[in-house]
């Protein structure tokens, strides 16, 4: 490391106050109504992702309650079949595409720069564009509902049911283009996080010092890069089948409906890990902090996450065991599906070892981790069961599967997420949440969850298929369905209490100070809430938990970065040794207009494919603005000049 760039603060006289003033000025938020559309700060964008995703979670939850009310009693006439089919389609699509993936991305966008010690993500404008695409995609799907164009072929949209012959109208086109919107957004975030983690880590944060949550986001982002194109291809082919008369999936013309299933699940299975891997990263952080010791088996955990990322691409066929594949092929995918248990198991053993060797402190976030253990281990084990072809062909497409994937997805991602939000809430708001209410909420959610989804195992084994809007009284399924519906209400109560706690604490919670949990990672070094430039000085990283190695005011810092413009330090990939300084672009409205152009193209193409071309031309103009070259690198956008 070059000596002139890096040093401790003691050796140089720095005017702290002036540096702070300069940073606050150069990283200032754009003001006013227009300013909202110009925002490119990762914390603002990340928070928008999280808040928007939670709004969609509430929508998806209401849909779930409607379905549970319909199924609460046999032959219920509350929802007609069309409405029920639309609701379960939108519930699945919302939860997968508009909640689970975006909320994890939002957490990544918000936390990764803070945890690796930098000021913003690598491509701030692209980041803003990604958010607008997600937002438009969600609005687009829900606009479809109000235009009576809600999709009704399931979140998996199997052909030929979703094809032009059996789903006339525009319902499925809305679904397919929603995919294009949100997956484009996911790809943007993935690129964002990959480059940020690889190039912008604080000096000294070599690969083996990256926090595990950041590793998880990195692996997740690589998975997104390889998985999302598959589903965008699939939805693109579906759109073409539906609008311009191609026959990719039309058996009558030599297409094959199974092609859809392969391309969809080649995305769909990695998708599960795209949701779950950030969850494990969160669990690893929470276990470390609240066991009050460095995580046991850091290398083993990181390698497990990476191998999960690889193996996750080799399992998609286990969604298709009933389609009549050759027995040898099915055995291969059984073996692969069992194989992925091993890295997950290793992580669990390392977490248990960490608790065993530490001094666990039962805080509210830790209770979410305990709930995660109780639920996810059960879901993982039912996953091991259905990895077996003979067992799977009995329970495939029954409520057993519904139970299984809610156990792994809610247990593996939502519970860690709720714990993580509770944990990072002070960093986001500067306030503490109410622990007593938090603990009650966690227990209500844990009980409600099991009440809802455990009976579904029984239902599946006793023959109840998925996606049925009604069942007859003599089926014997009534009591377990009633139990599940009661559980759904309990979950809803838990969800409301969780939100109540957030809103109340945001207003009246006690001040947290920079590091309320005495955690060891970099984000706890800076103020709560973090300033817009994140760190007054970029820290130099000497270990995995820098704040556990020395008090935060003794951590060596980078000086020499200019504070009068948005400068960050680019470091090398392996050792994170300083490479060069780099100026990040400031606020701009152009990404918003590009998103509008893209949105017009995608929306129009539902009705006529030429809109897609037109959208390209519309995007051209704002792209020119976006990439308009500036005369010199010292350029500071006008609005940011010191007053």
């Amino acid at each position: 490391m070059s000596a002139d760039l890096l040093s401790t603060i003691d050796q140089y006289e720095i005017d702290e106050a002036a540096a702070k003033r300069d940073l606050e000025n150069s990283w200032r938020a754009p003001g006013g109504f227009i300013g909202w559309f110009q925002e490119v700060n990762h914390k603002a964008i990340g928070l928008r992702y999280i808040v928007t995703a939670f709004i969609f979670l509430i929508a998806g939850g209401i849909e779930a309650l409607l379905m549970r009310y319909q199924l609460a009693i046999p032959d219920h006439r509350f929802l007609n079949p069309n409405l029920y089919n639309e609701i379960f389609t939108i519930h699945g699509s919302t939860m997968m595409f508009l909640f689970a993936v975006p909320v994890m991305e939002g957490m990544g966008i918000y936390l990764v720069p803070l945890m690796i010690g930098t000021r913003n993500v690598a491509f701030p404008r692209l980041n803003a564009y990604g958010y607008y695409m997600f937002l438009f995609g969600g609005i687009f799907l829900y606009a479809g509902i109000f235009l009576n164009m809600a999709p009704d072929a399931g979140w998996f949209a199997y052909t030929p049911l979703s094809g032009p012959q059996f789903s006339p109208g525009k319902r499925l086109d809305f679904w397919a283009q929603m995919i294009t919107f949100t997956e484009l957004s996911a790809l943007v975030v993935a690129i964002e996080i990959i480059v940020t983690v690889i190039k912008l880590r604080g000096p000294g944060m070599s690969l083996d010092r990256i926090p595990i949550f950041v590793w998880a986001m990195l692996v997740q982002s690589f998975m997104v890069v390889f998985a999302m194109p598959a589903v965008m291809d699939a939805s693109g082919m579906l759109m073409m089948d539906r609008t311009i008369g191609t026959h990719f999936f039309n058996p009558a013309e030599g297409g094959d409906p199974l092609l859809w299933q392969h391309t969809f699940w080649f995305f769909g299975h990695p998708e599960v890990y795209i949701i779950f891997i950030p969850g494990t990263g969160m669990v690893a952080e929470l276990v470390t902090v609240f066991s009050r010791r460095p995580i046991f088996g850091y290398t083993a955990i990181v390698l497990s996450i990476i191998s999960t990322g690889f193996i996750g691409f080799g399992l998609w066929v286990h969604h298709m065991f009933a389609t009549g594949l050759p027995q040898l092929g099915e055995s291969f995918f059984t073996a692969a599906s069992l194989l992925i248990t091993i890295p997950t198991g290793v992580q669990f053993f390392c977490w248990l070892a960490t608790m065993w060797g530490g001094r666990p402190k039962l805080t509210v976030p830790f209770w979410y981790v305990i709930s995660f253990f109780i639920i996810f281990v059960a879901g993982g084990l039912s996953g091991v069961m259905i990895a077996s072809v003979p067992f799977d062909i009995q329970v495939h497409d029954t409520f057993f599967i519904v139970a299984h994937f809610h156990y792994v997805l809610i247990g593996g991602a939502v519970f860690p997420l709720l714990g993580a939000i509770y944990y990072w809430f002070p960093k986001m708001t500067g306030r503490l949440q109410d622990d007593r209410l938090g603990l009650i909420t966690c227990w209500i959610l844990l009980i409600g969850f099991n009440l809802t989804f455990f009976p579904m195992h029984w239902l599946g084994l006793h023959g109840m298929p998925r996606r049925v809007y009604a069942y007859s009284a003599n089926s014997g399924w009534a009591s377990m369905n009633a139990l599940a519906s009661i559980g759904a209400v309990v979950i809803a109560v838990g969800g409301i209490l969780y939100l109540v706690n957030i809103f109340r604490s945001k207003r009246d919670g006690g001040f947290s100070g920079p590091n309320p949990w005495q955690a060891g990672t970099l984000e706890w070094m800076t103020d709560s809430p973090a300033p817009r430039y994140n760190f007054l000085h970029i820290p130099i990283v000497s270990g995995r938990e820098p704040l556990w190695e020395r008090p935060s005011d003794e951590i060596p810092l980078v000086i020499g970065l200019r504070t009068d413009r948005r400068e960050v330090l680019v470091t090398r990939t392996l050792e994170a040794s300083p490479d060069h300084r780099y100026v990040l672009p400031g606020p701009t409205i152009w990404p918003f207009w590009v998103a509008v152009g893209t949105g017009i193209g995608f929306t129009g193409s539902v009705f006529n494919m030429w809109w897609f071309v037109l959208g390209g031309f519309i995007c051209f103009v704002p792209f020119v603005g976006w990439f308009w070259p500036h005369r010199n690198i010292n350029f500071v956008p006008k609005m940011e000049k010191p007053k």
Binding site: F166, A322, G324, W356, P390, Q394
Partner: protein, 315 residues
């Protein structure tokens, strides 16, 4: 709904070798998984509540435990894999002679059934109900006319998808007589929930009798009311979609009605086959099963009774 009672639709109540193999595998898996879950949670509780020794547990000891646990996990998974493949082989092994061969074709939202024989005149066409002989192997061929459906008789075997332009084959055997309900297991559109059929596993002689009955054409009695009903049927739009062998009706869009009265349920397991239900179905099927492909038939009220008499005579 009394007529529908007495059936079973359950994967944990096996009535044949295939479902029994799977049931045993499931039991093995269940106990392994329960044991693993209890162990993990026990270690979690112990790890959180145990008294902390001074000095702390050394990492070498933790490492040994993690490696041991991983090794045990790999061992268990390998065991489960072997058990799964053995079960798979048992399911696939075909050691039988003279199987009954049945092709089931999925339609939105009913099932077309063909009993296949080497002589074409032996073939039997029916819908929404199958009969199989106890103790004899049955080969099921699943395919579809429109979207993907799935054929699943949980008491007898796992499911197999019915995919257009594909024919998937499984074999099964019922060892116990009984009525096994099955319903479509792949989402197939609006009335996916009402696409069931009953499977009657009967002793061989009873099955052969049923088969012989089904082979014959329509044998309606020659009463005046029935004959009038037949005329009404042949002059109504019914014959555009339905077949009644021995009459002029030869449509193939809807279920074959040649032996309608011999069937237990109507509209793919939606309701018991009673004259009242049948009348309701003919006049306004959309109220009973919204979205189905049968249009409401405008039968003058004085014609309805003869029509019903005719249909009820199709035993």
């Amino acid at each position: 709904m009394i007529a529908l009672a007495g059936f079973t639709q359950s994967a944990v109540n096996p009535a044949g070798p295939q479902s029994a193999h799977i049931y045993h595998l499931w039991h093995l898996y269940l106990w392994i998984c329960v044991a693993v879950w209890v162990l993990v949670i026990a270690f979690l509780i112990a790890g959180l509540t145990r008294r902390r020794p001074q000095p702390q547990t050394p990492d070498t000891k933790l490492r040994r435990s993690v490696i041991t646990a991983t090794a045990i996990t790999i061992g268990i998974l390998f065991f489960m894999l072997v058990a799964s493949i053995q079960t798979g082989n048992a399911l696939a092994t075909r050691s039988f002679t003279k199987p009954v061969s049945i092709e089931i074709t999925g339609h939105q939202w009913w099932w077309e059934v063909h009993y296949q024989f080497s002589q074409p005149d032996q073939e039997v066409v029916t819908a929404n109900e199958i009969h199989i002989p106890v103790g004899r192997a049955v080969i099921l061929k699943a395919t579809s006319q429109d979207v993907i459906h799935s054929v699943w008789i949980p008491n007898l075997d796992g499911k197999i998808d019915a995919i257009p332009e594909h024919v998937n084959t499984i074999w099964l055997r019922a060892d116990k007589p009984g009525i096994y309900r099955r319903q479509c297991a792949e989402f197939c559109g609006m009335q996916h929930a009402h696409m069931a059929m009953l499977v009657f596993a009967e002793p061989e002689p009873k099955f052969e009798r049923w088969l012989a009955d089904q082979r014959s054409g329509a044998r309606s009695s020659a009463g005046a009311v029935v004959m009038r009903g037949r005329q009404i049927f042949e002059n109504a739009p019914c014959l555009l979609c339905h077949t009644i062998r021995g009459t002029g009706a030869a449509g193939t869009t809807g279920p074959d009605l040649t032996h309608l009265a011999s069937r237990t349920t109507l509209a793919a397991g939606t309701m018991p086959n009673t004259p009242g239900n049948l009348a309701g179905w003919i006049t306004d099927s959309q109220r009973i099963k919204p979205g189905n492909n049968m249009p409401p038939i405008n039968v003058p009220s004085e014609d309805l009774q003869p029509l019903l008499s005719f249909l009820e005579s199709l035993r």
